[in-house]
């Protein structure tokens, strides 16, 4: 079971090693106050961009061009299904029992097809909850920004959540048969390709057109994460996590 998570765990170990060799930089030298390891993070980002250029981008491009939409949707469904146990557990830990129940029901029903087919009417009602969000709900500080090899942007808190989820992945219990084990062990790589393919143009825009792709990636990560932490997994009409910033803008203009 541990072997299947080896690449990700190696990434984290690599990050810890790199960070151990990096000292935090003074606030006035950071491009974002939350990014105390910025120099090391930018090095890791450059590495990740290399991985993207030589592996992920071409693979995702091929995936987009050769796998029909139905197949890509099935893969997305499976990945979403695979996250349901984690959502159920973390919802319970956060006292969101309705969401925990919904995640459990969706997991059981769609489990008939290993999640590849969505047999429920609308799984969008289940709000994704991970262990990083559980830590946030327990008022664990967010920590600083980290760029993790292969895994991408995290905060100290969300990385801790990721590590816990890797080690305690409930699906590992189900992976005793060869077929199931194969499917589960392929999830991280398939997930990366699926995500890259789904956001192909957007990621390429940031990668090739941004003046500072690292800063843009960091900004997008924080905004996305903030939405998750405020239970806006999917944006709602008329609601925004960014209202305060715009209110401040108009107040300053006065």
């Amino acid at each position: 079971m541990l072997v299947t998570r080896l690449p990700s765990l190696l990434g984290i170990i690599g990050l810890v090693t790199i960070m151990a060799g990096c000292s935090s930089i003074p606030e006035d030298q950071r491009s974002d106050i939350r990014d105390k390891y910025e120099n090391g993070n930018r090095d890791v980002f450059a590495f990740n961009m290399g991985v993207d250029t030589y592996v992920l981008e071409p693979v995702a491009s091929g995936y987009r061009n050769t796998v029909p939409e139905g197949g890509r949707s099935a893969v997305k469904n499976h990945l979403k299904w695979a996250s349901m146990p984690s959502t159920a557990i973390n919802s319970t830990l956060q006292g969101k029992f309705e969401n925990a129940g919904l995640a459990t029901v969706h997991f059981l029903i769609n489990g008939l097809t290993l999640g590849f087919a969505d047999l429920t009417e609308d799984d969008a009602v289940v709000q994704r909850e991970d262990f990083g969000q559980t830590l946030a709900a327990a008022d664990v500080p967010e920590g600083s920004f980290l760029m993790v090899p292969v895994l991408g942007p995290k905060t100290t808190r969300s990385l801790a959540g990721t590590v816990v989820e890797m080690v305690l992945n409930p699906l590992g219990v189900l992976g005793s048969g060869n077929a199931a084990q194969t499917v589960i062990s392929a999830q991280p790589a398939v997930g990366a390709v699926s995500f890259r393919a789904e956001n192909f143009d957007a990621i390429n825009d940031a990668k090739y057109n941004a003046v500072d792709p690292y800063a843009r990636t960091r900004s997008v990560y924080y905004q996305t994460r903030r939405g998750l932490l405020e239970d806006r997994v999917t944006q709602r009409p008329g609601e925004s996590v960014n209202d305060d910033e715009f209110s401040d803008f108009f107040e300053e203009a006065n």
């Binding site: 957007a202 500072d212 997008v220 008329g238 996590v241 715009f246």
Partner: protein, 214 residues
């Protein structure tokens, strides 16, 4: 509830790329509103989308013509002075008048270029207005959903942040998709560049010019 063809667009990271497009022809329903209500903001977005559709219909792929059309569209519907001011963050006040003017020109070019380059991706989408919500006296969020009639692309909810300052024209200030604000992303990227260059606003201008020319 009416559906209209319109734009595509990316998710997560990239809103900055495919967004913005707005209209040219016809009469704008928005105007200057003594009546700057959320309804007026909705009318502004509706008019923009109608104009956008016209442009998509007549677009032949001629890049020069497309750039000209898109420039006019954006000018009509977007608040470029506000976008420039917001995206420069706290460094706007310290910038010289010449730097401000130069930055306004550059950010305009960046946005026009983004829309022009992603114009083809806007074809084949339908737009469904969802809601309009006042955010104080000067701002409203108009929400709508873009969907692909073929089902090839997932539907996406978009929040248009529209200025409704009394006595001033209604304009689009920002586009937000899946919690990611185009303008805040631009602002944070800009501030990062300025901070890495010891607070020099001119460094941002130089970096953006180099990117545009590169």
């Amino acid at each position: 509830m009416h559906r209209r063809q319109f734009m595509q667009f990316t998710r997560n990271l990239g809103l900055a790329s495919s967004f913005a497009t707005l209209g040219l022809t016809g009469t704008s329903l928005s105007a200057m509103a003594a009546n700057n209500t959320p309804n007026a903001a909705t009318a502004h977005i509706d008019a923009m989308i109608v104009d956008m559709m016209v442009l998509l219909e007549i677009d032949t792929g001629d890049m020069a013509a497309r750039r000209e059309s898109v420039t006019a569209l954006l000018k009509k519907y977007f608040d470029f002075p506000g976008i420039a001011r917001f995206s420069a963050g706290q460094y706007w006040r310290a910038a010289t008048d010449a730097e401000k003017r130069e930055y306004e020109t550059i950010i305009h070019e960046v946005i026009v270029g983004t829309v022009v380059n992603n114009f083809d991706q806007l074809k084949g989408l339908q737009y469904t207005p969802v809601s309009s919500t006042a955010k104080g006296e000067k701002l409203a969020i108009v929400s709508g959903e873009f969907s692909d009639s073929t089902g090839a692309r997932p539907s996406v909810l978009v929040n248009w942040r529209v200025t409704t300052v009394p006595g001033e024209p209604i304009r689009v200030l920002d586009i937000e998709i899946e919690n990611i604000s185009m303008l805040i992303t631009q602002k944070q990227e800009n501030i990062a560049i300025i901070r890495k260059n010891k607070g020099k606003f001119s460094a941002l201008i130089d970096a953006m010019k180099a990117k545009l020319e590169g």
